[in-house]
Symmetry: C2
């Protein structure tokens, strides 16, 4: 969570989950599944994979061998963080008991000296704090802190907070400007420490975050020879000198979230400048249409500028979540809609594809094309899985869905800003507003003033997505001509009264998108988008996805299909399918052979990208040749 209520350099203040109610609509359904299915599924998986057992071993409560990778504890913490968020609404007894069990294990596992990391306690006590590049002790601590802040804030339960504070005391007894200099190989603790500072106002936590940010990029971690040198660890250049987003995508995006958090509290312009440089590099050159980040399986990394392969896109679900976290902090720092735009793109596409409609299987890797064959190489299978050996993504999905309410709106002394059009009621000190919409299926959004404490004018600001050229605004049924707009927000400043209603209509008709000619994999292709949704062709709806071409002049017909994939708007288009079997057993031919020149007319059906791979495994493509 991000609580910028007292952050001196926040342009806007965040809203707590306790002040937001999502009670219907698109995300309500997803959050119900998260609460009713995913959470207990996650706990079962944590039990089966050994995460809980590892903590038991650390607590000397049982015998056996440590199981799983070095960062097993972090999955427990992320799951606990999710439980805290979900419990703001309501939570079942089974989940509550499971969380009790997990918290008790975490408490029991902590050493008398404050140390807590089951891997090192069980497997390698003599290597504690000796493997900062790969050891993930501070990464796990970061997730522990985030869970602790969530439980403190939303459940009023400080057990994890006390555990966290004891670990940090242990850390600061060793690390610091006058002690040992070190930085974690996987950023995460930075953003967590700032949030803990916000929750406790304990300056030492902010200082520790600053310490970790300041010393990064001086080569302390050594290179990772296999996965891209120092860039892999975000250690190639000092944070303030960064010009590119590079290396391991999740590491990059967790770090930038933490650095932006630091700016929100300390206001150091050099930090924000570096963040904006990296952001511009990312959106200009290294981001997928889905908002997905990470072009390479090797090193789970950003690629070169315009290196955006479709089929071998990495686009880890955690990277989408990291991007949402970072963009939210940049939005609060700057008040610019481009960051909320990217949150929207990522939420509805590259993030949401990470979990099945049923809520019990997950994607680690979210490619933009699949040939529908069994994937024998690499971790990125093209069927969602119940869990992973490296299981960072599933509980990350759970905590993001649990905390979704935080991303809808913000406020300042001058008004209320609506960033995401999610049906909900949002309470701020100035006013309570209610958003009602069938978005993303419909472009009609109603925002009603349910309560207001202000007797003087204030501004209701509504994000106008970048893909919208012109939208219609009605105030109490009367169209507002040329509503004023600032930094991507339509701004309606006036004395507001309870019962007044703004109707916003976003034109969400399907549109075709092309990509920069330097992108190799999408040359000669278009993608279909509708509102915030990226669409794709999937084999379940189309006879031959791999040989299909889209007629770019085709009508794009929207069809609401209540019975398909939980209810979606499909898009019908004209195209052709070519017979590529005439190529025979070769990949290359003389240009004169001129095969594949024409095709047989066909009808194509596109579905939202997030909904793919919920039927039998089959081919899929976002980018379709024209």
């Amino acid at each position: 969570m991000v609580d910028t209520a007292s952050s001196p350099f926040a342009r806007w203040r965040s809203v707590r989950l306790t002040d937001v109610q999502i009670a219907s609509g698109f995300w309500y359904s997803r959050r119900e599944i998260n609460r009713d299915i995913s959470l207990m599924h996650g706990f079962r998986m944590l039990s089966e994979a050994g995460n809980l057992q590892d903590l038991r071993l650390a607590a000397h409560a049982t015998d056996g061998d440590y199981r799983g990778p070095v960062f097993m504890d972090s999955d427990v913490y992320k799951w606990l963080e999710a439980v805290a968020y979900v419990s703001v609404d309501t939570i079942g007894a089974e989940v509550r008991e499971a969380a009790e069990q997990a918290i008790a294990l975490v408490q029991a596992a902590q050493q008398p000296d404050g140390y807590l990391d089951s891997y090192y306690q069980v497997v390698a006590p003599d290597r504690k704090w000796h493997e900062l590049n790969t050891g993930h002790e501070l990464y796990c601590l970061g997730h522990l802190i985030q869970a602790a802040v969530a439980w403190h804030t939303y459940v009023g339960d400080d057990r994890l907070l006390h555990v966290s504070q004891r670990v940090i005391e242990h850390v600061t007894s060793m690390f610091g400007p006058t002690r040992r200099i070190g930085v974690p190989g996987h950023p995460e603790v930075e953003t967590a420490l700032v949030e803990l500072y916000r929750a406790t106002r304990e300056r030492a936590y902010l200082d520790l975050a600053q310490f970790f940010v300041d010393h990064r990029g001086s080569g302390l971690l050594g290179p990772n020879p296999r996965f891209g040198g120092s860039a892999y660890y975000q250690d190639r250049v000092p944070v303030r000198e960064a010009t590119e987003i590079e290396g391991h995508a999740v590491r990059a995006l967790y770090l930038t979230a933490g650095v932006t958090d630091l700016f929100l509290e300390c206001g150091e312009q050099a930090l924000l400048d570096a963040m904006l440089r990296q952001w511009t590099d990312m959106v200009s050159h290294k981001l997928y249409l889905t908002g997905g980040a990470g072009s390479r399986h090797t090193g789970e990394a950003f690629g070169h500028a315009y290196e955006l392969p479709t089929e071998r896109a990495y686009c880890e679900t955690c990277a989408a979540i990291g991007s949402i976290m970072w963009n939210w902090r940049l939005l609060l720092a700057t008040g610019e809609a481009r960051f909320a735009d990217l949150i929207e793109r990522t939420l509805y596409n590259g993030f949401l594809s990470g979990v099945s409609l049923a809520g019990d299987t997950f994607f680690y890797v979210n490619p933009l094309m699949s040939r529908g064959q069994p994937e024998v190489v690499g971790r990125g299978v093209v069927q969602r899985q119940p869990w992973f050996t490296v299981a960072c993504c599933p509980p990350n999905v759970m905590r993001l869905l649990g905390s979704l309410g935080e991303y809808i709106a913000s406020h300042d002394d001058a008004g209320v800003q609506i960033h995401q059009y999610i049906s909900s009621t949002v309470r701020t000190p100035l006013a309570t507003v209610r958003i009602t919409t069938d978005y993303p299926w419909s472009g009609s959004i109603t925002i009603g003033v349910e309560a207001t404490t202000a007797s003087s004018p204030w501004a209701l600001q509504l994000r106008q997505p970048a893909w919208v050229s012109k939208c219609v605004v009605r105030l109490n049924s009367a169209e507002v001509e040329e509503p004023p707009s600032s930094q991507g927000y339509i701004t309606l400043e006036r004395e507001w009264h309870v019962g007044e209603v703004v109707e916003l209509t976003l034109p969400i008709a399907p549109r075709l998108t092309v990509s920069h000619p330097r992108v190799e994999s999408t040359r000669g292709c278009v993608a279909i988008e509708r509102g915030p949704l990226v669409y794709c062709l999937e084999g379940s709806d189309n006879a031959n996805v791999l040989d299909a071409r889209l007629d770019p002049d085709s009508e794009l017909a929207e069809v609401w299909q209540a019975d398909v994939l939980g209810g979606i708007t499909t898009i019908a288009a004209r195209g052709t399918v070519s017979d590529t079997t005439e190529w025979g057993p070769t990949t290359f031919r003389p240009r004169e052979s001129n095969l594949h020149a024409s095709g047989v007319p066909t009808n194509l059906t596109a579905i939202p990208y997030f909904a793919w791979a919920n039927r039998a495994p089959n081919p899929m493509r976002v980018w379709v040749p024209v």
Copy 2:
């Protein structure tokens, strides 16, 4: 080396290096550099990287820590194998002394019980033969055997042969049908054992090769969770059931070479059938235009059908060499030119790009596109390197260049077959022929009969490359109309007399090639080829490679440039360059924005792909949009 003089199932018999003289022309120069520069460079690198020191440690001749990966010994063996081949012509005293030193170290390192593997001797004596999947003991043994056979055959020196035989005795005391069942995680020993059998006629070596082939694919190695399960180790299906080429490319191609060797000796049709299925899958779906193999950095692996990214192509130099090895064995088994065609394609492109013109730097990864920026992620930098942490490729290049003479021709009782048009004199029992040509720069090839022992007719067979639609053949200056052709070979059967001359003219005018529409990265692109050479655009010759388009109707003008890159034929073409800066800081735009529609006319200059990256690092592309 492959010596099929006595192989019962070889369609054709191979020619030994002692019967081949390459004394001028394209490859002569490359082999001079290999002999004069690469070999001593390699020895220095083996010294600096620790390979020799590791053997010294195993011999208890020094103190210190083992350095490098588990398969360090294999690089020494490959280098020694190269020395044996090169010494057939002539070799300097410095290299000879270096080889003496290396052989003495290998002898000294061997244990009294025959075991030899410096990693396990020094680092992990208790894990000998316990890590067959990752340990590389049998892989190293394979390379030792290949070096031993080369020294035995070409130097008449059996020191390495004796070392090898003692290791194998040690191996067979543990492994075998009635002892422990096991297979190596990295194939290589199979082909080596068959060659040792050929050199010694010791049936036990053939049986051991057969044993390793028979038990592969039954899951003995366990899955590799990170790099593609059992396919990574070539252990997903039994060899005889294989239908696809998959997993780690070098492992795949070394194994198929060994299996084909086994067929050459034993004639089991099921083995050859499996090889032909895998070969067809490879050339139909999984091979690059350069002959490069391996589409994925992750797992260094083959990808799905048509998954052939240009920029992130892996195309390890060793995989090109493995493919040449395999195709040579298939050629000897079947007598079909398609295998020699692929050897040619690979030799002149995907293999030769692996070494710089100066002979002292190497590519591990051979991509088909580079954006010319520093490569911060992954092992595959886009500048050739003096050596690598995993240094399999450089000595592999040296041994292939050293043994190149073996690939030129073959013979049988009915005649002589010319496979590669390399200026040379080739002696067979039937006749000695002399090939004179400026190929690949010129398509004119002269083959003269220098000696013949036959008084009755015999067939001179000349490969007609698949890219040739019609070539001109002259016999003693008179054109041969419609020369008979069989399985890709022009067959001239007659009584031959000394001094008779065949002139073959291959039309090598530049041509444009397109790729299958299912290949994502090359959509809308063409490649330029000329004779056996694949061409590319490099930044050194073109102002803007990344935004260039080729006019497909352009004249393709051949220009011999003696002073460029050691002397090459460049190809000049018309094209356009577009201003992509107008896209601004975004990767995606509405289709209507219609940017990049036209471009400024420009002259493009293409160079042979093998010669790229010999000037300052700069962008390169084989496939150019039209």
